[in-house]
């Protein structure tokens, strides 16, 4: 495998390349922004229509009360785990190849959490009732039920979102200072001056920065695991057939890391081209990301099989019937597609030649995420369509166009936020790439000296 990054890149050149990306992306950037805006417009239109006409237009009614909204909510929460994986876990493991790509993964975390949060409100229908999820007593001094996983969810997501934003911001301060020092006067310079907080790169600042970054990273890892475990508790703590499974929390966490990694590959390929980051988002780094994704895919596959086995051997006839219905009933094409995309498609990542093939990996990453979205849908809807009682059987349910429209719009919303972010905030961490180049060139020099000494 070649080098992750060229060791002779001048530091000034790194600044220039990344700053250029803020001002001068390829035209495809504007095409993506336009398409995302259109998609978001469709979502907003559907939401306005649903708000005015009532939840009936979404086709949500007993027993199918969650539909695509909650399935997509879980999908976006899952997507957010990529940032924590690349930033925090790999940071603690001293995997420095993460440095050119972790910033956009952190941004993904933030924006996917924001998108997920929207789905809770869309799902509520009556937006003003959102405050029931806030730890605040009503006029009769009754507090929300702190023993409900739904309230845990609200708190966990708020904690994760705010901590991720803080982590993203703190990690970007040295880069904001670079932008402040090198960009032409104007609104951008004013913005970066404000965001840099007067950073000068003094030894005192770096010393405290290092400890802070490490500490927040240490907090983020258990937090990320707890967030998706709690989302899994929304299901596993209920009595619905097929959900009352102890392996749900690790299954959800593995699925989250999986979809997050797949999304990193997709965005890696897009950013690499759009912002001309070929020197930083290199093929060896793509290869490592692909291998990591494959490993997580296998963990997910194992846990997926465990989930089936848990249901099969639970002797809960209704839960078993739901599983059989998934494999042979109305949702069978989607269930099999989920298994195919989630467990079979990743094997293409084993082919060395394909690991660095941009078109193949782009297609594979999209298929993996399709599989992960289908997974969430296949958890939610078949169970609601096949409950314990006759009145909980719904053999005709199909999501309405309004639901599909809002789900479609959410991808536009996420893409829009993400692309605007990449246009304003350096999506490659300049100071960390410099560190990477510096430490690697130092190691090479030491190795050369060692060899010479040996002779």
């Amino acid at each position: 495998m070649g080098k992750d990054i060229r060791e002779d890149i001048a530091w000034a050149h790194i600044n220039q390349d990344v700053l250029k990306s803020l001002e001068n992306p390829r035209p495809l950037f504007w095409v993506i922004v336009f398409v995302a805006l259109m998609m978001f417009g469709v979502g907003v239109g559907c939401e306005v229509y649903q708000y005015q006409m009532g939840m009936g237009v979404a086709g949500l009614n007993n027993p199918n009360v969650w539909g695509l909204y909650i399935a997509t909510f879980i999908f976006w929460i899952g997507m957010s785990h990529s940032g924590t994986l690349l930033s925090a876990i790999l940071h603690l493991m001293h995997a420095d190849w993460r440095k050119p790509i972790y910033r956009f993964a952190e941004a993904m975390t933030t924006f996917s959490l924001m998108t997920a949060g929207l789905f809770v409100m869309v799902h509520l229908g009556r937006l003003w009732q959102f405050y029931y999820a806030v730890p605040y007593p009503n006029e009769r001094w009754t507090w929300p039920n702190f023993q409900s996983p739904l309230l845990w969810d609200a708190m966990a997501i708020f904690t994760y979102l705010s901590s991720s934003v803080i982590f993203l911001y703190v990690g970007s301060i040295p880069d904001f200072a670079i932008c402040r020092d090198n960009i032409h006067p104007g609104w951008r310079k004013n913005l970066y001056t404000l965001l840099a907080l007067g950073w000068e790169g003094t030894d005192r600042q770096w010393r405290n920065f290092r400890v802070t970054y490490l500490t927040v990273a240490c907090f983020l890892i258990p937090l990320a695991v707890s967030v998706h475990s709690i989302v899994a508790s929304d299901f596993a703590m209920s009595q619905q057939p097929g959900w009352h499974v102890t392996s749900f929390p690790p299954y959800f966490v593995a699925g989250a890391l999986y979809s997050g990694c797949a999304a990193i590959i997709t965005l890696f390929i897009i950013l690499r081209y759009v912002f001309k980051f070929e020197e930083y988002m290199t093929m060896p780094i793509l290869k490592k990301t692909v291998r990591l994704t494959f490993a997580i895919a296998m963990v997910w596959t194992y846990l997926n099989l465990i989930e089936f086995a848990s249901v099969w051997y639970s002797h809960d006839e209704v839960a078993k019937a739901v599983l059989i219905d998934k494999a042979t009933g109305r949702f069978a094409p989607f269930w099999w597609a989920m298994n195919f995309c989630g467990s079979v498609v990743p094997f293409t990542m084993m082919v060395k030649r394909w690991q660095t093939s941009i078109p193949i990996m782009f297609a594979v990453s999209l298929l993996l995420n399709l599989g992960m979205w289908l997974e969430r849908w296949m958890i939610v809807t078949p169970t609601f369509s096949h409950g314990y009682y006759p009145w909980t059987m719904d053999t005709h349910y199909w999501p309405s166009l309004v639901q599909w429209g809002i789900v479609f719009g959410s991808f536009g919303w996420f893409t829009l936020l993400f692309m605007v972010f990449c246009k304003i905030v350096p999506s490659v961490s300049m100071y960390e790439v410099k560190e990477m180049v510096y430490h690697r060139s130092l190691a090479t020099k030491k190795a050369e000296l060692g060899l010479e000494g040996g002779h």
């Binding site: 001048a10 530091w11 000034a12 600044n15 730890p135 007593p137 001094w141 009754t142 507090w143 702190f146 023993q147 309230l151 845990w152 708190m155 966990a156 708020f158 904690t159 705010s162 901590s163 803080i166 982590f167 703190v170 301060i173 040295p174 200072a177 670079i178 020092d181 090198n182 907080l197 007067g198 950073w199 000068e200 790169g201 003094t202 030894d203 005192r204 600042q205 770096w206 010393r207 405290n208 920065f209 290092r210 400890v211 802070t212 500490t215 927040v216 907090f219 983020l220 258990p222 937090l223 707890s226 709690i230 100071y431 410099k434 560190e435 510096y438």
Partner: protein, 176 residues
């Protein structure tokens, strides 16, 4: 005695390190390397601490206090709200159930830890701050800066040390 600031820029850490070692070993009137010397660099470089001497980092104390207060606040808020149920029938269930309350206590433990850690970072790193008058944008690109505060009388000695080690540029603040 009036003091003035001087900033010398170097091409790499090795040159900067040599200067710092000489400054630490020299007897310069009105200059104490521990208090009057600041190293500015474009990257985080742990070796800077080695040649600069150990300086404490206190962010962890903020973390400890933040995490503990977050967790305690959450637990007592939840337990306090559940204490309402003294006047209501609970059917034999505990008034303050520990397992479900642990989840939110855990979340708030982390939330408090993160928020107060960042607050601690800002306090300990002295941010937000006005930039010093001798700031050079080259420090955020690829050069290492040594900012010193020195008596007017000793400025020439400092300048000669900087020059001896091939400083790329020396900036000097007017005497105060």
């Amino acid at each position: 005695m009036s003091k003035r600031h001087m900033l010398a820029l170097y091409n790499n850490f090795d040159e900067a390190e040599a200067v710092v070692r000489e400054l630490r070993n020299s007897e310069i009137k009105g200059f104490n390397a521990a208090d009057d010397l600041v190293v500015k660099s474009p990257i985080e470089h742990p070796e800077v601490e080695e040649f600069l001497g150990h300086k404490p980092v206190n962010v962890q104390w903020f973390t400890l206090i933040g995490a503990l207060s977050g967790g305690l606040l959450a637990f007592f808020l939840i337990a306090g709200s559940q204490a309402n149920f003294y006047s209501q029938m609970k059917g034999g269930k505990p008034i303050v159930p520990f397992p479900p309350d642990f989840v939110l206590t855990y979340e708030m433990f982390i939330l408090g830890g993160v928020y107060i850690t960042v607050l601690g970072f800002l306090i300990c790193a002295g941010l937000p701050a006005r930039r010093s008058p001798l700031y050079s944008a080259k420090v955020s690109t690829d050069q290492i800066g040594l900012l010193v505060r020195v008596d007017d009388n000793s400025a020439a000695t400092l300048r000669s040390i900087f020059t001896k080690h091939q400083a790329l540029e020396i900036q000097e603040e007017a005497g105060k």
